[in-house]
């Protein structure tokens, strides 16, 4: 999503978010992520105005005092930015890709099922199975920090069964243009 992203040409406007809207965003995030209200409050204080950065192709990035915290595509789920995820890694369910896939992930590729189901990969066990279209943190074999944020394209059980094709679509990854811009 952010493989090519230039603030000068891709941002069409920045506006303060109305307090009623920001309240609904806050509640949406609290319901979508595993984050405590207090933790969110410490990162995004209620008093601090949220700024909506409108970008091409219906991408909305939300920033607090210039630092992008999370973004959204059209009406879709909210994704944390990678820096935010590094600080609070537990807010999204995690999947892990094997070492061979890291190279491709860092080039912006979507994650294929075999990379997730192989020995180095990790998918949540069956009792915590992920549904399709769930935002996930992408971890990598042998690494501590997340390498990207993605959205599942099929359920985790389905991935195990089919084991072919795109399992997790990469939304943002280490070294993409959103990562490059610490401030907007």
């Amino acid at each position: 999503m952010f493989k090519k992203f230039q603030p000068s040409s891709d941002i069409s406007g920045q506006t303060q978010v109305k307090s009623s809207v920001s309240r609904s965003i806050r509640s949406a995030i609290l319901s979508q992520w595993k984050i405590e209200p207090e933790t969110l409050e410490s990162v995004w204080p209620k008093k601090e105005g949220l700024v909506h950065v409108k970008c091409r192709e219906h991408i909305s990035i939300y920033t607090v005092s210039g630092i992008p915290l999370f973004f959204q595509h059209f009406d879709g789920p909210f994704y944390p930015t990678l820096r935010f995820l590094h600080k609070y890694p537990y807010i999204l369910p995690a999947v892990k890709v094997d070492r061979g896939a890291i190279r491709f992930l860092l080039a912006g590729a979507h994650m294929m099922c075999p990379g997730l189901t192989s020995a180095g990969g990790y998918l949540p066990p069956a009792d915590q199975a992920l549904a399709a279209e769930t935002p996930v943190a992408l971890l990598a074999e042998g690494k501590e920090h997340a390498v990207g944020v993605g959205i599942t394209k099929m359920g985790s059980e389905e991935m195990r069964k089919i084991n072919k094709g795109v399992g997790v679509e990469t939304v943002t990854y280490l070294g993409d243009d959103l990562w490059e811009h610490e401030k907007l």
Partner: protein, 217 residues
């Protein structure tokens, strides 16, 4: 760079250091963010440096700044365990790829620097009215100077209006009211405030007579 942002964040969050599970206490406290170290060279967490395009430099930096981490990531053991998960051919290929990528990144950086060094800053004095002039400055953005902020600086320095506007070619330039061409040259040479990194040789001063200015409008 990432570290700086990090520190700011920490200041913003309340100072209590203990991470408390929110369900336990009557007054839940926010969980403390994890401190993540980012490489100063490639901005990745150091464990991902090996996939970046400046791996050699990243390694040097890590060795200097955080020797403990360096030994953790690049000790014989660590390298050995990494090797274990990969065939020799794959390993060699990866090494070759990394070297290639590094060379490419270097070439790219060189080209960017060259381009930067060869780009001109044009300062133009345009006659508005017999005795009145405006000065336009074009090409500062190539030296990664924020035009809006630079305009503000000019405005406060000369106590005149200064704005960023598009010239007839559709390129951004700073328009300062009044004839301040030589003062701006001086400022650029002395690197006042924001105006940093412009070599004196790349500054060009042009005078434009009224006829031309009228045609341009």
């Amino acid at each position: 760079m990432g570290k700086k942002q990090k520190e700011k964040k920490e200041e913003a969050s309340p100072p209590e250091a203990t991470a408390v599970e929110p369900s336990e206490g009557p007054v839940p406290e926010p969980r403390q963010p994890k401190t993540v170290l980012y490489c100063a060279v490639c901005s990745f967490p150091p464990e991902y440096c090996e996939f970046g395009s400046r791996f050699t430099k990243c390694k040097e930096w890590l060795n200097d700044a955080h020797p403990d981490l360096f030994s953790q990531y690049y000790s014989e053991d660590a390298l050995q365990s990494k090797l274990g998960t990969m065939t020799l051919a794959a390993q060699q290929k990866l090494e070759k790829d990394t070297a290639k990528k590094e060379a490419k990144a270097d070439a790219k950086a060189d080209a960017a620097l060259k381009k930067k060094m060869s780009s001109q800053v044009t300062i133009k004095r345009i006659e508005r009215n017999k005795r009145k002039h405006v000065t336009t400055v074009h090409g500062l953005e190539a030296f990664s100077i924020d035009l809006k902020k630079a305009a503000k600086q000019f405005a406060s320095k000369f106590a005149t209006g200064a704005s960023v506007s598009k010239n007839p070619q559709g390129l951004d330039e700073i328009v300062v009211q009044g004839d301040v061409a030589y003062e701006i040259v001086e400022m650029l040479e002395e690197e006042v405030g924001l105006l940093k990194g412009v070599p004196a040789d790349n500054i060009e001063v042009i005078e434009e007579k009224k006829k031309k200015a009228a045609a341009a409008e």
